[in-house]
Each structure stands twice: as structure tokens, then as C-alpha cells.
């Protein structure tokens, strides 16, 4: 303590310096300006993610649409035909495709964010840049995937609409960016919180893998919220992604259980989760290298 006071006294103020490297960082001291200065790195990492994924594959970016199409096919057979689950009157293909599109974005963003420190341990040990850039780049590159898959979804919907008018597209479709924001915030928040803990406990990394799979069954991806018995609906509604998927389907097809309150709750809760994750991440990022 005495040391600290004396040091303060004897030196010029910290304003004279561009950078002060000290042991601790305040809980709310998120280096936003620095993250902005590194925004070009987001672009480059996004590009790297895409190239890394599709170089040396024959089908390349076609995988972006093969994955949701095949999943939708399986879901249609298993949950639609065999289990005969309700789709709120929406054609099964569109119902599952819309659910899968949203869910994939959430799930992949969450999973890769939660691996931030472990996957980049070598890089983080060799060079400094604001570590937050990595989750941001993950959300952006998954966002591009999402965009492609949304185009796919809308093309399939338009094709079916031409053959036989079924929809009632709502003005709420304009809320689409909001829905994406909610999913990104929730996925990043949970992912960053988990990645901060996986720096110490590796168990969590394994948990995330199948935890996310299980979470899908608790989210109205393969069934509509209306199919859940009334008394469980509040519990299912705690999940912000539930409101996003329901809201998205409502915007597109005019069916589904959704409310402004639900969407507002989803926004608020995802922002809270995001903030918690961000602050945890911000504390761990500076110490992480010492624990590997």
C-alpha cells in the first residue's frame, strides 16, 4: 500500500503516456476505443474463417445451403411425418427451415465463442490485440452465413407462395435485424461467459457441445410454442431465442405465439446476458495466457 502511494507521488501523471500497463483493470473498463481501432481485423478474421472452412472442399460455399436443407429434410421426416408434431399450420419445410436457420446462427455463434481462448491460445500467447475482436468476428462471419441462409429460406418461401398463396407477410419482418441482434447478444454473452470459465475449467467446453444440442429441444425449433402445455409456456419463454424464433415465424407467416412483451423481454435479457459475458471476458482476457 505504501509502495503504491509513493509510486504515485514520484512520477508524472499517467496522462503524459499513451499506454499504461498495470496489473488490474476496472470491472467496467472495456477498451471500446481500441476495439474500434482494430475493426479491420474483424474483416480479416471473417475472411480467414470463410477461407479456412471452404478451401479444399469440392462443394465449397454450397455447404452453406446444403446443411440447412439436409437438416430440414431430416426434421420433416422425423418430427413432421413420424412424430407428427404441429407446425402451426405452416408448411413443414418452411417451418423447420426457418427454425433451423435461426437456431444454427445462435448455436454456432455460442459454441465457437465459448472456445475463443482455447482455440486461439497460441495466437494470444504471441501477439496482443483486443481479444474481444475474436467473438465479434465470429458473430459477423456467422451473420454472413445467416444472410445466405435467409436468402435460401426466402427463395423457398417465394417459390411455394407462387405455386399456392399461403402467407401473410407482416410488417414485423422489418424487425428482422432486431431478431438477429437479440440472438447475437445472447449467443455472445453466454459464449463469452463460458469462454472465461473454460480458461480455468475445461469441463465446460465438453458441456457446451451437447448442452447446446439439448437446448434446441427446449427451444421452439421443431415445434411451435403453442404446442407446449400452457403451464410450461412461461418456463419455455425464459429462453430469449424462443421469442426470436416465434417472432420471426410470425413476421413471415403470420402465425405463432408472440407478443411485443415477449420480444422486449428477449431483448432486455439478452442484453443483460451480453453485459455479464462481456465483463467476465474482459477480466479474463488479460490473465488467460498465464493459465495455459
Amino acid at each position: 500500500m505504501k509502495d503504491r502511494i509513493l509510486t504515485r507521488h514520484m512520477d508524472t501523471t499517467e496522462e503524459d503516456w499513451t499506454l499504461v500497463i498495470s496489473p488490474r483493470r476496472g470491472a467496467f473498463d472495456v477498451p471500446i476505443r481500441e476495439v474500434l481501432a482494430y475493426r479491420d481485423l474483424v474483416t480479416m478474421l471473417t475472411k480467414r474463417n470463410f477461407v479456412a472452412r471452404y478451401k479444399q472442399t469440392i462443394l465449397g460455399p454450397l455447404w452453406l445451403i446444403i446443411q440447412p436443407l439436409m437438416t430440414t429434410g431430416i426434421f420433416t421426416i422425423v418430427f413432421g411425418e413420424i412424430a407428427n408434431l404441429s407446425t402451426d399450420g405452416i408448411p413443414q419445410v418452411l417451418f423447420y427451415l426457418s427454425g433451423v436457420t435461426c437456431w444454427t446462427y445462435f448455436a454456432t455463434t455460442l459454441t465457437s465463442t465459448s472456445n475463443t481462448f482455447r482455440e486461439n491460445a497460441n495466437l494470444f500467447g504471441k501477439v496482443y490485440f483486443p481479444r474481444l475482436i475474436v467473438p465479434i468476428a465470429t458473430a459477423v462471419s456467422n451473420g454472413l452465413t445467416l444472410a445466405v441462409q435467409l436468402v435460401l429460406l426466402l427463395s423457398v418461401a417465394a417459390y411455394m407462395q407462387l405455386r399456392q398463396p399461403i402467407f401473410d407477410v407482416q410488417a414485423q419482418l422489418l424487425l428482422l435485424p432486431l431478431f438477429v441482434l437479440i440472438m447475437a447478444a445472447a449467443a455472445l454473452g453466454i459464449g463469452m461467459a463460458i469462454s472465461s470459465m473454460t480458461a480455468k475449467y475445461r469441463d465446460l467446453a465438453y458441456l457446451v457441445g451437447f448442452g447446446v444440442q439439448l437446448l434446441m429441444y427446449a427451444t421452439p425449433v421443431i415445434y411451435p410454442l403453442s404446442a407446449i402445455p400452457e403451464r410450461y409456456r412461461t418456463i419455455a419463454g425464459l429462453n430469449p431465442v424462443a421469442h426470436v424464433i416465434e417472432g420471426f415465424r410470425h413476421a413471415l407467416f403470420g402465425t405463432g405465439t408472440t407478443s411485443a412483451g415477449g420480444v422486449l423481454y428477449a431483448l432486455a435479457s439478452s442484453l443483460v446476458v451480453f453485459t455479464i459475458g462481456l465483463l467476465a471476458f474482459n477480466q479474463v482476457e488479460r490473465k488467460f495466457v498465464d493459465t495455459i
Binding site: K2, M10, W17, K55, F129
Partner: protein
């Protein structure tokens, strides 16, 4: 120690930086292990996961290692500072703290301007991306904007000698090309401060020479460079100053040769006699510096300085004593404090070879670690200086309270009187 941060040209100040690493427990990182360990601790049993010592003070049991133990340093614009020292002495850790890869446990580092660090060549290169794409990726990782990279792209490509293959994925590159491309990006970052770890060892001789030229020209343009190396001749060629890092502490030298000499006699640091080879310079040279260890325990500094010369001269030997390896405390030479062996104040005869003894009694200094530089000149010029020739620990009757340190309050012990008015 306050390292004069007021100097406008000071680019980096390292202030009492300590770094602790935890060993052992971090090897097994599952929740179950920690639960079991906490349980065992509650029951006061040994560590069930094993590996770490179970006795001794709490710190030792947790396997804490202090890699840096109060490093102080002050680096000016355009300095090329070599960090030398044995493996595990803390050189790379210091560089990592400076590059913000890890945090100091105590103390702080202040810098003016941006710091780029090159701890590895081609950090973040992706094998599937082309050379050109990797330049952008690596450049932005190091803090450039894409526009910065574009502006320097031609220079970078030219420097790397990879022009023909610049649009080929780097997984097809030879290791030499890979290194050249990586260094080329780092050399064009245009930051005010560049920290380089032992990365040049990998390239071929011709490319090493090119890198050294580049670093020299960067320094000439005002870039401050901090360079870790085991290669003495490289440090001698490139650096303008050097610091020896040993046992988590740093001693800064203004001359690279002295730093290397200090480092090479490192194994017998506690020895109190230091001999120097005479080199081909025609001027007088110091050949030996001896400090009497028994006198140190009584607060007396007794130093013998021997020298030899190819011609007779009016020798003026002197010393400068430093606290903590950096902060000058006092000086003495035969001009300021005339030679008592001379009769009636007459100057001593010209000598060619001699040993002078300096005795200082009752030093008004606090007990602690000091170093001494020996100096040799005549009435008008300097011939030789051996920086921090000896390192010693002085025992005086003045002892600082435990919670104060010389680095903060200075080494001077004055007699003073307080009274309530």
C-alpha cells in the same frame, strides 16, 4: 526507483515490475480436480492430484514463481536496447508484459506511442491464404488498418523477396520464405516502439543481415527497439545499449560491451575481483577492479583499480556508485579528491601501470544493493569505463524500515530532526 519519466525523450519506463507465475496446479484444469483438491485441503490432507510440493509456506505449496522481481528500466527514443541474460531469467516474460500479452503482477510500464511486438514470425498466418492475404491478416493482427497495409504493400513484398509467389497460399512456401514474409510485415508497422524476441535465429545469414540493417535504419528514423537475444555478436552489432536480466532483475548499461562482460562473468557475480583483457586500443585501459568484501560489512567501500597504458600519463581514476543498478549515487576521482600519497598536493608522476585504492568511510547510505563503475582518464579526456564492474551489497548503520525501498525513497540517509511546533 523513479526513472526520470519527466524526460521528453523517454519512450518506455518500466517501474518496479514483478511477475508471478503459478506452477503445478494449472497443469490439471478440470472442475473435478479443483473440487477434489479443495476437499483435500479442507481435510488437511496432501494434494490428491500430486505433483506440487506439499510442505513449506503457502506460496511454495501453490508453486508460485516470481519470474520478474522488481525490474526498472528507462528507454529513450531511438535506443536499440538488447536484453541479455541466461535462459529463464525473465527476458521473454518482460517482453510479454511490455507487449501486453500478459499483465504484470505488480508495478507498471509506461510507454509513449504504440508498441508492436514480434515474438514469433508470421503470427496468425493461415496456410490456406495467399502471401498477399496473409500480409493483410498479419498486419491487422499487429494493429495496422487495411489502408496502412495497402500503403506499404509494395515495400513489404519487395522486402520479403516473395514477389513471385505472393498470390500462392503460404502452405507452399519454404520456411525461409515464410520467415521473410513475416519479418517484412513487422518491419513495416511504423510503430514508435518495436519489441523483438529471438526470431532472427531462424532465417539464413543473408536475410539476418538484411533484418539487422532494417532494424538499424528503423532506429535511425527514431524507432525505439527492444531486442532479446542470446547472440552476443548480434547484440554488439545492433544495439546501442543493453540490459542484463538475471534472477528477475535488470541492470542497464549504456555500453553493450560492458553489459556482455557483466553477463559473461555472471556465474561469479558475487566475486569481488574482475579482470579485463587489454584490447588493441592505444589508450590506457583498466585491467582489474577489486572491492574488499570484508570492509563492505562495516559500511566501508574499499576499491582497487588497476590499469595499464602503452605510454606514461597523468592518471585520473574514478568511480561512480549506483543504487539498484541504475540510479547514480555518488562519484569520486583523484581530481575531486586528490591522491593522498602525493607529497604536499603535488600531482603524482606520470605512470604506465599502477593500482589506485579508494577508501570511503561512513557512507550516508542505506544498506542495500549497489553497483560500481570504474573510470579512467587524465586531466582532459576519458580513456576507459567499466560499467557496473562490481555489484555489492553494502551494510551500513542505516537500515530502511521493511515497508520502504531504496527505489522509492532514494539511497541517502540523512540525519534530521522532527519536532511538533
Amino acid at each position: 526507483m523513479s526513472a526520470s519519466p519527466s524526460n521528453a525523450d523517454t519512450m518506455v519506463v518500466v517501474e518496479d515490475v514483478w511477475k508471478k507465475y503459478q506452477l503445478g496446479e494449472f497443469g490439471s484444469n478440470t472442475l473435478a480436480d479443483d473440487v477434489r483438491r479443495s476437499w483435500a485441503r479442507l481435510l488437511r490432507r496432501g494434494d490428491p492430484i500430486g505433483g506440487v510440493v506439499n510442505q513449506g509456506p503457502a506460496e511454495a505449496r501453490r508453486g508460485d514463481v516470481w519470474v520478474l522481481q522488481g525490474v526498472d528500466m528507462s528507454i529513450n527514443r531511438g535506443d536499440v536496447v538488447g536484453l541479455i541474460g541466461p535462459n529463464g531469467a525473465g527476458k521473454s516474460t518482460l517482453l510479454k508484459v511490455l507487449s501486453r500479452i500478459t499483465t504484470p503482477t505488480r508495478g507498471r510500464i509506461l510507454t509513449k506511442g504504440r508498441v508492436a511486438s514480434l515474438l514469433e514470425v508470421g503470427t496468425g498466418f493461415h496456410p490456406e491464404l495467399t502471401g498477399r492475404e496473409n500480409i493483410y491478416l498479419n498486419g491487422t493482427i499487429m494493429g495496422m488498418t487495411r489502408r496502412d497495409v495497402s500503403a506499404r504493400l509494395d515495400e513489404i513484398i519487395e522486402f520479403s523477396d516473395c514477389g513471385m509467389f505472393i498470390d500462392t497460399p503460404v502452405r507452399r512456401y519454404s520456411s525461409g520464405m515464410y520467415v521473410r514474409l513475416g519479418f517484412a510485415v513487422a518491419a513495416h508497422l511504423n510503430t514508435e516502439i518495436l519489441a523483438v524476441d529471438e526470431v532472427l535465429a531462424v532465417g539464413d545469414v543473408r536475410f539476418q543481415a538484411k533484418c539487422i540493417d532494417k532494424m538499424s535504419s528503423l532506429a535511425a528514423e527514431g524507432t525505439t527497439i527492444i531486442f532479446v537475444s542470446h547472440n552476443s555478436s548480434l547484440v554488439q552489432r545492433l544495439c546501442t545499449r543493453a540490459a542484463v536480466i538475471a534472477d528477475g532483475k535488470a541492470v542497464m548499461f549504456d555500453g553493450v560491451d560492458d553489459a556482455l562482460a557483466f553477463y559473461h562473468r555472471g556465474s561469479r557475480r558475487s566475486s569481488t575481483t574482475v579482470d579485463y583483457e587489454i584490447d588493441e586500443r592505444p589508450t590506457p585501459q583498466i585491467t582489474r577492479v577489486v572491492i574488499d568484501p570484508t570492509q563492505l560489512e562495516y559500511g566501508r567501500v574499499v576499491v582497487d583499480i588497476s590499469f595499464s597504458s602503452s605510454y606514461p600519463f597523468q592518471a585520473v581514476p574514478g568511480v561512480i556508485v549506483y543504487a539498484g543498478g541504475m540510479q547514480p549515487v555518488f562519484t569520486s576521482n583523484t581530481r575531486m579528491h586528490p591522491d593522498r600519497s602525493a607529497i604536499d598536493g603535488l600531482p603524482p608522476d606520470a605512470v604506465q601501470e599502477a593500482t589506485y585504492r579508494l577508501e570511503v568511510d561512513d557512507l550516508p547510505l542505506f544498506s542495500g544493493a549497489y553497483t560500481l563503475s570504474a573510470w579512467l582518464g587524465d586531466e582532459s579526456s576519458n580513456f576507459d569505463v567499466k560499467e557496473h564492474a562490481v555489484q555489492f551489497s553494502l551494510e551500513t548503520k542505516h537500515t530502511l524500515p521493511e515497508d520502504l525501498a531504496i527505489r522509492y525513497v532514494g539511497p541517502l540517509a540523512v540525519s534530521s530532526a522532527w519536532s511538533l511546533q
